[in-house]
Symmetry: C2
Subunit: 706 residues, 2 copies
């Protein structure tokens, strides 16, 4: 990275006054403020104004395109000081509010991207750095719409489409996709467009069921067609395209393909027999919300939200004790396994290439969750610098998760049973065809779970009807759904037991003892003994899951001991041992996904190191500015301020059953206390009784219902 | 096994009349009968009567102790014929009803166990075989009570307890445990008793918080004390016991230990703040129950229940198509990792040593599940031959499991979303201190999940306060909870696509293609390609999970092809890659757990091969009559009548948080259709709407709620 610093110019006095007035305006959703509150609409407007003034002073002719304006979180040192000072409920001086922004300036010389940091407290531009040409800014919603419109109005593209001889009334649809790189020095920034058509006049008709065998590529700097790529239309190794067919047979037609709708109104029939199941919370929810602060069943936390990670969790505490400082989904990559050009470039990084916050669904009451729902909304910037309100981007609600714990005394027949109530913070993102549902779940046993659900519509490509392929599954006649991986990277910044104290990550394996049937009884003469092998991580580095060794990773606070067990207090991560990156280590795709070749990474905390694939993933070429460069520092991470990262996901070999919309594929990772408490933290959950739960007997006897 | 056949004697005519009358009596819970219905009370009485008459004729002096009387399922060939004949709803001749029984006969010569098969249809004893001396019958509820009573009345044991100098008013409690073997030829049948004490007068006081350092061993044939074993009372390698301390210091007292209660009424305080969450199904459930036949959301199945496996699922079909013929939890083992004598013998096989059906909880409305609940009850035999009604041993209900599938059209903003409704069949078993919750879950996407929850109270042993141990965790002062494994074996008898046709199991790995950047485009020049490597299992055998290869096991029907994908229809098992048996391959503990050293087993179907650890697990010594002997036949299993078995579980290194009652540790395995359907089977699930779900807005906006 070669950022070029520019000097912040003076800002006109009237602008400063406007900004200050905006900041002091009442915030619509918050009743109390916190340093990690997302930027309010007024704060976004203030930052936009500061940036606009700054650009006008430098180059009045430049056209500004806003990519994002987001909270620049305070340095951890200051934040920790603030949090500790407010632990007992006392107030302390508010931390300065800052906004980070990415914009482009278009002039006659072309397009340049700039990173800004502005102070909303002092109404000033703190820094402005130009983005290197090899760093490609993410896509944004306005750009995707503009690219499609420009493509569909392009006469050269129209000529290509005409040769396909699509059915009467067919409408071409083009989804912007992030672009993989072929080499490490690829410019300019480009947008490949995945193309489809629909014949239905219903705008929600499923165009993914009828893909076209071509990928036009747009140049977003000019919004002109850069090139048209033709895709293989046979299965197997053949790379023959419709263009090469055209060379043999003029205007070889793209066959009429079959519609396959998902929208309920367009389906032939909907199943019956499903009776209502309502979650009724007659006294309302058990949680309390104060601005972005949430408390529930001994848990306290702060809810964050930004354009890139979407939902983040901060200052997570249980029963007044620190557990995690910050939890977030840091990055993800979706590499496709079809090796044929141009498919080899299909590798999305949905968070870095577009942004989970940008793509967040505005959730609907009664559709996305049951029971009593609290929603968090967010304000985002548009490309023009306006504020766009996104309603209900995060839902907060409770769920019943079955029995929490139970024991029956077989002598008396008396059962002690509790149910597990769970607090859910959920975000759903739509990235063109595909959906991800991310839910953080906190339970009464002090466990933290991250549930990921993959759903939505498979990325489909065109294939001649009757063909099959080793690289995917035919999910509709003439439609290949290529196999691919989803690899997530989760960032966990711990504060085990006490914010500000050092933590250590320990790898623990369960290993058989040496067997010696001739040996003395104190060894393992019967061959049944096993022990736990502990390997503390001393320097920043990586490790891998090993379920055959029951491997877990514990984050302990080596400064605090559990009075019952005599061991350090801790939390464990049971890593998901999913398949890692299948791309070859020398490939560009592998280099781009810095987090994707090991399950576990441990780094020393450093401000700003949030995104394990690096700040710029779109069309990235593997310049090693993500987690690999951070672990390479070989920092001390023993009894230190460390960050634990977990890479997990799924290799998704497509099924016919995944079309037209994939049933959720659900995975969960869990953080669980180990010797953190002096007994089960859930032991004092009230009993599960009929008086409380009011179940209904369909048949049978009622037992000893209380 | 060396069974000795005896000749069935004539049965007195009046007994036959009584039996026939009993069989024709109305059955209280069934409205229609099925060949797999569990034995009714009348059928149990009839079988008891047949056996009693049979024994009286041979030896009128013999005292009979009934271990179990259970349905002898019809041979598969006959059952398949019956099921196919009734597919269109037509009736066919009922299959003969048979009961299998295990009893002991005590005479002056000692105790012998006998296996009976009786015909309830022809009121006759079909077979009676004596059980070999090396095969040890399971424990039963009456025997456990009798063993404890005999022990606590034994003057020799009283003398030992006196030396412990327990606190005033202490009551000793003794749990019968199954016994591991030291050698392969161990007789007689013995019952080790895990001992504890309580000082509270409350019978539900948690005696597991105050274990004693001794394991008396009872001989159940005589109900006399066989021996007293003293357990190590230091941590680490020391095998010193309180008996050896007594040699140095007369009457070294067993320190007064601290109570640690779980019963809500005995706890110091119960947390507040939890508001009611009710599941209301105002129109009742969506399922229909007819006797033991259940239908729900295109699923149909028959619910079985027996003394050993507890809940079983039969003839499982989706949308009129066969999926599985029989699903059951076949076996499980819980080996402990403390190598010191006598702990090396701690290895329970809860299903074979006692029985999941025998240990099933009688579920309480509103305590164990929410919503509208249907219960199945069961009749069991007592040791005296009476019928014991067990109410509510299986609950049937629906759950909401979050979003089923969702897609939002980013152009129109229109979301299509469904919720996933799940049908749950749940059984909870209490095995002395510990609980297991087994739930089969069927969903609308045609997936079948088996969820296991481990809860209850850790098996605890005594240790001197202040000591710690490498073999477990101190969970209460003076209480060691040893580390252990829970290894389950699930049996899956498939009928993919068509009952009676052959199936094949295919191991599928996702593997990178060879990378050759210099190669032609049709290969893998960019290094991103991968394919699926398929290895069909031709002969009976085993395989292992390999998550780093994304390994799945598909059961396909090679006689049927999916018209969309062109591949064979199938279901896949995503195996849980949990740690396998840690005991040494030469150990007796390893030999006993025949299923515990590989994740996957495939056998050719054979009547009666239901229990992967063998028919007799209690005090078994590894005589190889379980799954290892069946796969050793090297049967053809390609396009054949095969059974797939999955071994999975957890290595449980204990936490302080697992005491006094362990929060549920939950694991799920799933069977999912792969190219079984021509589209997502869940696509026709009705939309999730506010009108249907009636959620409550706590704050925020309502979106476009319909």
């Amino acid at each position: 990275m070669a950022p070029i610093a520019t000097t912040a110019p003076d800002i006109a006095t009237d602008t400063i006054q406007a900004v200050k007035a905006a900041i002091s305006a009442p915030k619509p959703t918050s009743t109390s403020s916190h340093p990690l509150d997302p930027l309010s609409a007024e704060e976004i407007k203030a930052a936009v104004s500061l940036i606009q003034t700054h650009v006008e002073d430098i180059d009045p002719e430049a056209k500004i395109w806003f990519k994002h304006v987001t909270l620049h979180e305070p340095p951890k040192a200051e934040l920790v000081k603030y949090l500790l000072a407010t632990r007992d409920g006392s107030t302390t001086a508010a931390l300065p509010r800052e906004a980070a922004a990415l914009i482009s300036r278009t002039t006659s010389a072309g397009v340049k991207f700039y990173e800004y940091i502005t102070s909303l407290t002092s109404s000033s531009v703190i820094s402005c750095e130009v983005v290197a040409d090899l760093d490609h800014a993410p896509l944004d919603a306005d750009e995707m719409v503009a690219a499609e419109e420009a493509l569909l109005n392009d006469p050269e593209f129209a000529k290509v489409v005409e040769k396909l001889r699509l059915p009467e009334g067919a409408v071409v649809v083009a989804d912007s996709w992030p672009y993989g790189c072929d080499t490490v020095d690829e410019v300019p920034r480009l947008i490949p467009m995945m193309t489809y058509y629909r014949t239905s006049s219903d705008l929600d008709s499923n165009h993914y069921a009828t893909p076209l065998p071509l990928i036009p590529v747009m140049n977003p700097a000019t919004m002109k067609l850069h090139s048209v790529e033709y895709t293989p239309i046979y299965g197997g190794e053949s790379t023959e395209t419709i263009e090469s067919l055209w060379a043999k047979e003029e205007n070889f037609p793209w066959e009429k393909h079959e519609a396959h709708e998902y929208k309920h109104e367009l389906q032939a029939s909907i199943r019956g027999g499903l009776e209502p199941l309502e979650v009724v919370q007659k006294n309302g929810p058990s949680f309390k919300v104060d601005g972005h602060k949430v408390s529930w069943q001994k848990w306290e936390l702060v809810v964050g939200f930004n354009y890139r990670e979407g939902l983040t969790l901060h200052d997570v505490r249980y029963d007044g004790r620190d557990v995690f400082h910050r939890l977030s989904i840091s990055d993800m990559t979706v590499p496709y396994g079809d090796p044929r050009t141009p498919y080899h470039r299909k590798q999305a990084f949905d968070l870095g290439d577009v942004g989970a916050g940008v793509c967040a669904n505005q959730l609907d009451l009664g559709c996305d969750c049951l029971g009593s729902i609290h929603y968090f909304s967010a304000d985002m910037v548009t490309s023009k610098g306006d504020v766009k309100r996104m309603n209900n981007v995060v839902c907060l609600h409770e769920q019943d998760e079955g029995i929490g714990w139970k024991h029956t005394n077989f002598r008396t027949g008396n059962a002690s049973v509790t149910r597990s109530r769970v607090l859910v913070l959920q975000m759903i993102i739509t990235v063109a065809n595909y959906e991800y549902i991310f839910a953080w779940k906190l339970d009464q046993a002090a466990n933290i779970h991250l549930e990921t659900r993959a759903t939505g519509i498979l990325s489909t490509v065109a294939i001649l009807p009757g063909e099959i392929s080793p690289y995917g599954t035919i999910v509709n006649p003439g439609v290949l759904a290529p196999n691919h991986q989803h690899i997530f990277s989760v960032r966990m910044d711990p504060a085990i037991g006490a914010l500000g104290e050092g933590n250590t990550v320990i790898q623990e394996d369960s290993v058989p003892m040496a067997y010696d049937p001739k040996n003395t009884p104190k060894n393992n003469p019967w061959g049944v003994g096993y022990t736990v092998e502990k390997t503390p991580m001393e320097l920043s580095g990586f490790a891998d899951a090993a379920p055959h060794k029951n491997r877990v990773f514990k984050i302990v606070n080596p400064n605090r001991t559990n009075p019952i067990s005599g061991r350090n207090i801790g939390y464990k991560l049971v890593p998901q041992p999913s398949q890692l990156m299948l791309s070859h280590p020398e490939s560009v795709g592998f280099a781009r996904a810095e987090f994707a070749d090991h399950h576990i990474w441990v780094t020393k905390y450093k401000d700003g190191e949030l995104f394990s694939g690096g700040q710029y993933t779109n069309q990235s070429s593997g310049n090693a500015r993500g987690i690999k460069s951070w672990v390479a520092r070989q920092d001390n991470v023993a009894n230190d301020d460390l960050v634990l990262w977990h890479t997990f996901g799924l290799t998704h070999n497509t099924r016919v059953e995944d079309f037209p919309v994939m049933p959720c594929e659900t995975h969960t990772i869990s953080l669980k206390p180990v010797d953190f408490f002096t007994a089960s933290p859930a032991i004092d959950v009230p009993p599960s009784t009929q008086a409380f739960n009011k179940s209904t007997l369909v048949n049978g006897s009622c037992g000893s219902c209380r």
